[in-house]
């Protein structure tokens, strides 16, 4: 019995630039499977989240079985299998930020947006516009509480500046 061929490739509509980027990523490693996390990031950046098709496509591209991609996707909290809002707020919950009030900040944001302050994992508003997620250390511990809004850092965030942030993003008045 030979190893079954990797999954027959699922079709994924990808822009040529992304396919080229993925080819370049895969080419960086002596073993294709080493590229898995980077390829998944590239796909998630493009698709917004990782669909089963995206995982199967990655497996086929890297000559792996899909279970191994699924292992990675379920292991790393930064990979998601569901869409998030246009504004994704990651509030740091680790020690320095916690001491500086990040838990109160998280609760404030949740209440304001109608989300559960005690909920686990990313929570998205009903209109699908904002996602709030409590995450581990964002690595600027001296300036807590820290919020990563999409890819932009906000330091020393208070409930007041958070409200401002939402306003600027056009989420609330």
């Amino acid at each position: 019995m030979d190893q079954p061929p990797p999954v027959p490739g699922v079709e994924l509509e990808l822009p040529a630039a992304l396919t080229a980027e993925i080819d370049e990523i895969v080419g960086r490693y002596p073993q294709k499977r080493s590229a898995a996390v980077m390829v998944l990031h590239a796909l998630q950046d493009h698709l917004g989240y990782l669909t089963p098709d995206a995982m199967e496509w990655t497996a086929a591209r890297l000559e792996l079985q899909p279970i191994h991609i699924y292992e990675l996707v379920t292991f790393y909290p930064m990979f998601r299998q569901r869409p998030v809002g246009n504004l994704h707020l990651k509030v740091c919950r680790t020690l320095s930020c916690a001491l500086a009030g990040s838990h109160q900040l998280h609760a404030h944001l949740c209440r304001k947006l109608g989300l559960d302050p005690h909920g686990h994992g990313p929570q998205t508003t009903e209109d699908g516009r904002v996602t709030v997620e409590f995450v581990e250390c964002l690595a600027t511990c001296g300036t807590g509480p820290v919020v990563l809004a999409n890819d932009v850092f906000h330091e020393h965030v208070t409930p007041g500046t958070a409200d401002e942030l939402l306003k600027q993003a056009g989420v609330s008045k």
């Binding site: 019995m1 030979d2 190893q3 079954p4 089963p52 079985q65 899909p66 279970i67 191994h68 699924y70 292992e71 379920t74 292991f75 790393y76 909290p77």
Partner: protein, 561 residues
């Protein structure tokens, strides 16, 4: 040419270590479980060689090493070297041993010359206790409803190294208890200790890389990719390998407590490989097959198809009583008398025999004697399938070599069948004795009305089939699980099997009624026991010369075929 033969080991090939103070010489390298590549001998192997078993979960001698459970932690020391790189010696001349400040996992740590391994210190016991405590923190402790209870490593080591009471005050993590991994395997995720044996088996042995560990942290669990089934022909081996009750066989689940099972050494008759197995039975009912290790045949595994091929043995419609449809006789004495009369009165050349390569060597030996006495031509029925490159052989008969060596068939099994069929059609063959084969199977491509042309059709079989239906005389026999005997596998491995359960009704081992017929026809009773028959067969067969039933042992002997 080298001056040493390969079997000679030189000092350079071995090294000496001490296990709990006892010196043991081990090879420097041993073959890796899957690739066979020479890899350094590990502490656990050295301990095994010294007769010391180190408790372990994730380690399995037939799987690649993972080193994740930490149950095999041991303490050790190595000879201290002086500044000149020479071993330091104690005043009494013994080497100074420098204790390692840290323990090591015995399953993944290579041994080195002069190493001392300690498996029985307070420190080692404390580590085992700690690992056990850790593994049991979230364990559901549902042994009373767990199929593994009685053969569970977690239970056994908990008894040896665990604590009577848990010191854990928090709430246990709960995980799904019936995850359908595939058609034959269920997972109880909260019993799983994440040793990854199942993953390694299916990846490296079954070569179906189907399982993985998903989720992060407290909720991690074994899984197949969503929407995919864990479904290869070897999945049930993972239920054997799983050291706890996490993977269970759907077939065996909740059927029988393992400590009630009587275990009999037998073989699988599903193909020419002849995997060694244990039959688990209770009150004359078979409940499961499990593979029995034989490195010359099946290692520790068997295929799912072979493993599940036992239910028919207890079928209600088994042939239970001998029968002469013409006289109405239904007890052995009369039916055998009448059969012997038929054969005695048949004219020479008018009798043919179709045997089976699923019959035992001993049965085929008697069948050949019968053919010789009657001047009957014979053959057997081929049974072909596809080999899977792992265990399953393309020859689906378990004893083709037995049939060949006894001379019941030619090298190419079945080559004679068309000629025999022709002679039946031409009326030359008027009496046919069939042993354990249904000649109406379409793949044999015999004329459909063939059997109807016979004057006498004598059939020995186990279950009803169209050939049995047309027989004038029916002689009920035994499944190989109901008798003793030998099979010779495709590689010439001669292997014994023993009786696990009793046959139903009057059914008797085929050697019984074949012997009865021979006695009536020749006036001489052949030996009755499988032992004696095998020894006679070995005596009479050049390829088996010198073999005896006793010499076969539990692992069998390979002969040139």
């Amino acid at each position: 040419m080298s001056s040493t033969t390969p079997s000679q080991t030189t000092a350079a090939d071995t090294l000496t270590v001490r296990v709990n103070g006892r010196e043991v010489v081990v090879p420097r390298t041993m073959p890796e479980a899957v690739s066979g590549k020479a890899v350094p001998t590990t502490m656990i192997q050295a301990c095994e060689a010294a007769g010391v078993t180190v408790p372990h979960y994730c380690y399995h001698p037939k799987l690649p090493v993972a080193g994740n459970c930490r149950m095999c932690l041991v303490e050790f020391g190595t000879p201290a070297l002086g500044p000149d790189r020479q071993p330091l010696l104690n005043p009494d001349g013994s080497p100074v041993i420098r204790q390692s400040p840290r323990p090591a996992i015995a399953c993944a740590t290579p041994v080195s010359p002069g190493m001392e391994i300690y498996t029985d210190t307070d420190g080692v016991h404390a580590m085992r206790r700690a690992v056990m405590e850790f593994l049991l923190i979230n364990h559901p402790l549902d042994c009373p409803i767990c199929d593994q209870a009685g053969e569970c490593k977690l239970q056994e080591y908990a008894l040896d190294h665990g604590q009577a009471a848990s010191g854990f005050d928090e709430v246990k993590v709960h995980k799904p208890k019936t995850v359908d991994l595939g058609p034959r395997i269920l997972l109880d995720a909260e019993r799983c200790i994440l040793c990854s044996r199942c993953i390694r088996f299916t990846r490296d042995i079954a070569r179906d890389d189907a399982l993985g560990i998903i989720n992060r942290g407290s909720y991690n669990t074994i899984a197949a990719y969503p929407g995919r089934q864990f479904d290869n022909n070897y999945t049930l081996n993972t239920a054997d390998l799983c050291p706890v009750g996490a993977l269970t066989s759907k077939d065996f689940r909740f059927r029988m407590r393992v400590w009630f099972l009587k275990e009999s050494k037998s073989l699988c008759a599903g193909c020419g490989t002849g995997c060694n197995l244990l039959v688990g039975s209770r009150e004359n009912r078979i409940h499961r097959f499990t593979p029995r290790q034989n490195d010359a045949v099946n290692s520790c595994w068997m295929c799912d198809e072979g493993r599940l091929n036992y239910r028919w043995v207890g079928r209600g419609d088994r042939l239970k009583s001998p029968l002469n449809r013409r006289s109405g006789a239904t007890e052995w004495g009369t039916v055998l008398d009448e059969t012997a009369d038929l054969l005695r009165n048949a004219s020479r050349g008018s009798v043919a025999v179709i045997g089976s390569a699923r019959a035992t060597c001993e049965e085929l030996f008697l069948l050949k004697k019968l053919c010789q006495h009657l001047g009957a031509r014979s053959d057997c029925v081929p049974r072909e399938g596809e080999a899977d490159g792992l265990l399953v052989s393309d020859d689906r008969n378990p004893n083709s070599h037995g049939a060949r060596l006894t001379g019941v068939c030619f090298t190419e099994i079945g080559i004679n069948l068309p000629y025999l069929a022709n002679d039946i059609e031409a009326g030359k063959i008027r009496t046919l004795l069939v042993l354990g084969e249904d000649l109406t199977k379409p793949e044999l491509e015999l004329p459909t009305d063939l059997l109807g042309r016979l004057e006498n059709l004598i059939v020995g079989d186990i279950l009803p089939n169209p050939t049995v239906d047309q027989a004038h005389i029916v002689l009920p026999g035994c499944a190989h699980l109901e008798k003793r005997g030998t099979f010779i596998n495709v590689n010439g491995r001669v292997q014994r099997f023993f009786k696990a359960v009793e046959p139903p009704g009057q059914a008797m081992p085929e050697t019984g009624w074949l012997g009865g017929l021979l006695e009536r026809l020749t006036g001489e009773a052949p030996a009755r026991s499988a032992e004696a028959l095998f020894n006679q067969l070995a005596e009479a067969t050049p390829a088996l010369k010198g073999l005896t039933w006793a010499a076969l042992g539990d692992q069998g002997v390979t002969v040139e075929v």
